[in-house]
Amino acid sequence: MTKKSDYMISRRGFVGGIVGLIGAIMSTVIGLPVVGYVVSPALKKGGREEWLTLAPASAAEPGVPTPFTFSRMKEVGWRRVRINRTVYAITNDGENVTVFSDACTHLSCKVHWDAERNAFVCPCHNGVFDKEGNVVSGPPPRPLDRFEAKIENDQLMILVEG
C-alpha cells in the first residue's frame, strides 16, 4: 500500500500547480494581444512622400530666411485632420534654395526667424541657430533639419513625407 509520503507530489501541490499553469496560459493569451493593442498606433507609419509646391520662389526675399506655411491632410486614427506647418526658405540666386524645418532639434518646439538678431530663436530653452541652420548657442544637439527642396519654373517645391 502506498503511503502519503510515497507520492512525488502532494495532491495540494498538484492542484496548485495546475491552477498556476492555467493562470499563466490565460495571462499570456490575453496579455500578449493587449501589448499589441496598446502599441498599435505607434506601428503605423505615413511614409508617403510627395513634392509640394509652396509658393512662387520670388516670394522669398534674397538672402533672408522667409517663412512659408502649408497644410496637408493626414489620417489620424479614424479621422482625416489638417496639419499646418511652417518652413523657412532661404535663396540667394532664386535657383538654389535651402529649406529649414521650424522644429528645434532640442525638444521640437517651433523656432522663428528673429531679423534683429539675425538668427533662428527657439522660445523654449533659448536655442539659437544662424542663417545656415547651425547651432550658435543653447542646448540643440545638431543643426536645423532641412527639407529636400528645388525651384522649378519659379515655383518653390519641397519633398515631404508622412
Binding site: 494581444p33 493587449v34 498599435s40 498606433p41 479614424w78
Partner: protein, 219 residues
C-alpha cells in the same frame, strides 16, 4: 529560493496569514453551483481590465463614439478581441451573477448568519445591471441609442417624480451629449467603484462566516 523570498517578505508584511485565511479555510462538501461566486468575481475583474484598455481609444461624444468603436474593431491590433471580451463578458456577467443569486436563494444560503452577505449581494446584482444598462449606450449605434431611449423612458413612468428622474437620467429632455457623457462617467467610475467596494465587503463576509452547507432533506 522561492521559499526564502516568501519568508523574507512575510517576515516584513505578514501577508501569509491573510493568504491562509482566505485560501486555506475549511469548506463543506458542496457542488459546482458553488463556483458561481468565483466566476462572478473573475468576470468582474476581466470587465475592469478590458474596460480600462478600451478607454485608451474610446471617446464618449456623439461625434466620435461610434467612429472610435469602429476604429477599435477594425484598425487597432486585437481591438476586436478586447472589445469582444468586454461585450460578451458583460452578457455573461449578468447571467452568472443572476445564477449565483438563484443558487443562494434556492439553497437558503441567505439565512443567519449570512443576511448581510445576501444584502450586499443583491446590491452587487443591481450594480451589475446598472453597468450593463449604462455600457449598452456607449457604442452610440442605433441599437444603443434606441435601447437607452426606451429604457430611460421607463423611468419616466414613475408616479409624480418620474419626469424629474427622467431628466436627471438623461441630463435633460433628450438623449444628447450630456446623456452619453454621464452614462460614461457612471459606467467607468461610479458603478465600478461601488462594485469593488461591495465585492470587498461581500468577500470579507464569505471568508468570515464560511460558506453554507447544502440543505438536507430533513431540514
Amino acid at each position: 529560493m522561492t521559499t526564502r523570498v516568501i519568508d523574507w517578505l512575510d517576515e516584513r508584511m505578514g501577508l501569509l496569514v491573510v493568504w491562509n485565511t482566505i485560501f486555506d479555510r475549511k469548506v463543506p462538501k458542496v457542488n459546482w453551483w458553488y463556483t458561481l461566486g468565483s466566476a462572478s468575481l473573475f468576470l468582474a475583474i476581466m470587465q475592469a481590465v478590458t474596460g480600462i484598455f478600451l478607454t485608451i481609444y474610446y471617446i464618449p461624444t456623439p461625434e466620435e463614439a461610434y467612429s472610435s468603436v469602429e476604429y477599435i474593431m477594425s484598425d487597432v491590433a486585437f481591438g476586436w478581441l478586447i472589445r469582444g471580451m468586454h461585450h460578451w463578458g458583460a452578457t455573461l456577467m449578468v447571467a452568472i451573477v443572476f445564477l449565483h443569486l438563484l443558487r443562494v436563494f434556492y439553497y437558503g444560503a441567505y439565512k443567519y448568519p449570512r443576511e448581510v452577505t445576501w444584502v450586499t449581494g443583491v446590491f452587487l446584482f443591481l450594480v451589475t445591471m446598472g453597468l450593463g444598462f449604462t455600457g449598452y449606450l456607449l457604442p452610440w449605434n442605433q441599437r444603443a441609442y434606441w435601447a437607452t431611449a426606451v429604457g430611460s423612458s421607463i423611468v419616466g413612468t414613475v408616479p409624480v417624480v418620474g419626469d424629474f428622474l427622467l431628466r436627471v437620467l438623461r441630463g435633460g429632455d433628450d438623449l444628447t451629449i450630456l446623456t452619453l457623457s454621464r452614462f460614461f462617467g457612471v459606467h467607468i467610475w461610479f458603478l465600478p467603484g461601488m462594485l469593488f467596494i461591495l465585492i470587498g465587503i461581500h468577500l470579507y463576509l464569505v471568508v468570515r462566516n464560511g460558506i453554507s452547507n447544502m440543505p438536507k432533506s430533513d431540514e
